[in-house]
């Protein structure tokens, strides 16, 4: 039976990394969850592309950061921050699709 990422993560957030990139952080509750997700490569470019309906080529990178028990994914912003059609200048409310991740 699949479990929700909310069991494993204590922080799931999004934010601009400069005006042209959007970055997602998932910080796990402990090292065990971090290692579990990392060893099974659960967060990968294909998953991010699927969750956000974007091309895999727009997923700029996935970095596992052990000092914070965290994984970071960065995507190309659909629009530069503040460009016509913008919905979220700071990029701080783009995280919700990540809550659907299961393990």
């Amino acid at each position: 039976m699949k479990r929700s990422i909310l069991e494993a993560a204590k922080v799931i957030r999004s934010k601009n990394a400069g005006p042209f990139e959007l970055t997602f952080d998932i910080i796990f509750k402990d090292r065990e969850y971090f290692e579990l997700f990392k060893s099974q490569n659960i967060v990968n470019p294909e998953l991010i592309a699927k969750l956000y309906k974007i091309d895999v080529s727009d997923v700029l990178g996935i970095v596992w950061f052990a000092p914070a028990n965290a994984v970071k994914a960065t995507i190309k912003r659909p629009l530069a921050s503040g460009a016509p059609g913008e919905t979220d200048i700071y990029g701080a409310q783009q995280h919700a699709p990540l809550l659907e991740i299961e393990f």
Partner: protein, 455 residues
């Protein structure tokens, strides 16, 4: 001032952004620790392109003055340098002057006298165009190529300066330094680097202190933090009994707002955190080791600029009609088509945006859910046109068309929208976008010099 390298160098960071405030008790506690430097980051590109493009501050003047008053009074009285990075929020000359005027007011009111260094971070269009012609400009990831016309249209063009011009001002004896657009850690790291402390540790400490207590837990953008730089480590300390630094909070902050937590690029090089360790040393303190500065083969600086792209008008309305909500996408598409039909010579459909809250107003094209289960929607009608008059007209026509549009299956025929306000339409004024976000190789040219004055 006669500077010597001591065993440790204490830096007080009062707040995450100058003007966000801090509790007086935390500031006092910080002053009791006898800091060698009081420094604050005053800017960010986060609030969007408007503030740089329009030359306006995104922080509140009264609160910037309130924060600065504490810093200047205590700093000048105790002979502790005060360094402000990215003055005025976006750090162009107009922002710098805004901040300088506040400093002058405080100095007069508090009867303070000191030597001040002001460092403009503007880069002239000629300099950028010359660099462009010589192939010394490269776009950052996901940024379009720069062109001469983009440079010409840019209203304010700045570079993120490194610690060097701040060091020059401090060496000249300045007690107060106001820097224009500045690499966030530079205002914290300049003085310790000048004294011989390790550049990687000084910059990494600055990277954390620039957000002050945001990197503590519970985090706050309106509270102080203390950084203690040593020969081969630095220590982070919260100054409110409500918070502490933990390994996790400090490490997690390293992720914040950047794409690669192991390599943090800045002017002239990057901080490498591959061998960085965080150790809990008790009492809510964390010790960080192993951060290294790696210079790049050429000293590159990041340019930022914004240009005007027109004027905006908006109207805010809601709907509570389930039939309308059920086919909202179709209705809005038809309204756009109808407006186009009314003035076919003057197609403005690309200048009209509907933000539909309750459906995809927050995520736009990234929204994975195709349908809404909300019983009501908020629709923000946005017109973005070359002039304010045109934006007002388009917004007004879109509002009236949507209000009375006879969509298929409609049974509520008196009006489709609930307006909370009269007037319903709001002029938003000039709109900007980031036009420059590129790296430049200044080819050895010294672009940033402090202007020194006695206050």
């Amino acid at each position: 001032m006669g500077w010597i390298m001591t065993d440790e160098f204490r830096v007080l960071s009062p707040t995450a952004i100058l003007g966000y405030g801090f509790p007086e008790s935390s500031f006092r506690k910080g002053m009791e620790r006898k800091p060698h430097l009081i420094a604050v980051d005053a800017g960010s590109t986060d609030p969007g392109p408007y503030y740089l493009g329009a030359g306006k501050a995104f922080t509140n003047r009264a609160f910037v003055k309130r924060d600065l008053r504490y810093m200047l009074r205590e700093g000048v009285k105790n002979n502790i340098p005060v360094v402000v990075g990215t003055a005025g929020g976006s750090g162009a000359s107009v922002h710098l002057e805004w901040c300088r005027q506040i400093v002058l007011e405080i100095a007069a009111e508090e009867k303070l006298s000191f030597k001040m260094g002001v460092i403009p971070a503007d880069v002239s269009k000629e300099t950028v165009k010359k660099a462009l012609g010589e192939g010394r400009i490269t776009p950052l990831a996901c940024v379009p190529e720069l062109t001469e016309s983009l440079v010409d249209e840019t209203t304010y063009l700045v570079a993120q300066i490194g610690p060097e011009p701040i060091i020059e001002a401090l060496k000249a004896g300045c007690n107060v330094v106001l820097a224009g657009r500045c690499y966030d850690p530079a205002c914290f790291a300049a003085l310790p680097i000048m004294l011989g402390y390790d550049e990687g540790l000084a910059l990494h400490m600055g990277k954390i202190l620039e957000c002050a207590a945001i990197a503590a837990t519970p985090g706050s953008g309106a509270d102080c933090a203390l950084g203690i730089l040593k020969k081969d480590s630095f220590i982070l300390e919260a100054l409110s009994p409500k918070r502490k630094f933990t390994c996790e909070s400090a490490a997690a902050h390293t992720l914040y707002e950047k794409s690669d937590p192991y390599h943090l690029p800045g002017p002239g090089g990057a901080i490498n955190l591959e061998n960085c360790s965080f150790t809990d040393i008790g009492d809510g303190r964390v010790e960080v080791r192993g951060s290294r500065f790696e210079p790049t083969p050429r000293y590159l600086i990041k340019l930022e600029g914004a240009r005007s792209i027109g004027y905006r008008s908006i109207s805010i309305a809601g709907t509570r009609d389930p039939i309308m909500i059920g086919s909202i996408d179709q209705i809005l598409a038809e309204v756009k088509a109808h407006i186009k039909e009314m003035s076919p010579e003057d197609d403005r459909s690309e200048q009209l945006f509907f933000h539909v809250y309750g459906k995809n107003g927050v995520m736009g094209q990234l929204e994975p859910l195709a349908t809404t289960s909300s019983h009501e929607l908020c629709i923000v009608i946005e017109a973005l046109c070359p002039s304010q008059d045109e934006a007002d007209t388009l917004c007004s026509v879109a509002r009236s068309t949507l209000l009375h549009y006879g969509y298929a299956g409609r049974i509520s025929t008196a009006g489709n929208l609930a307006f909370p306000f009269s007037p319903s339409d709001i002029k938003m004024g000039n709109v900007y976008e980031f036009s420059v976000y590129h790296l430049m190789d200044p080819a050895g040219e010294e672009l940033f010099k402090p202007i020194i004055e006695d206050i």
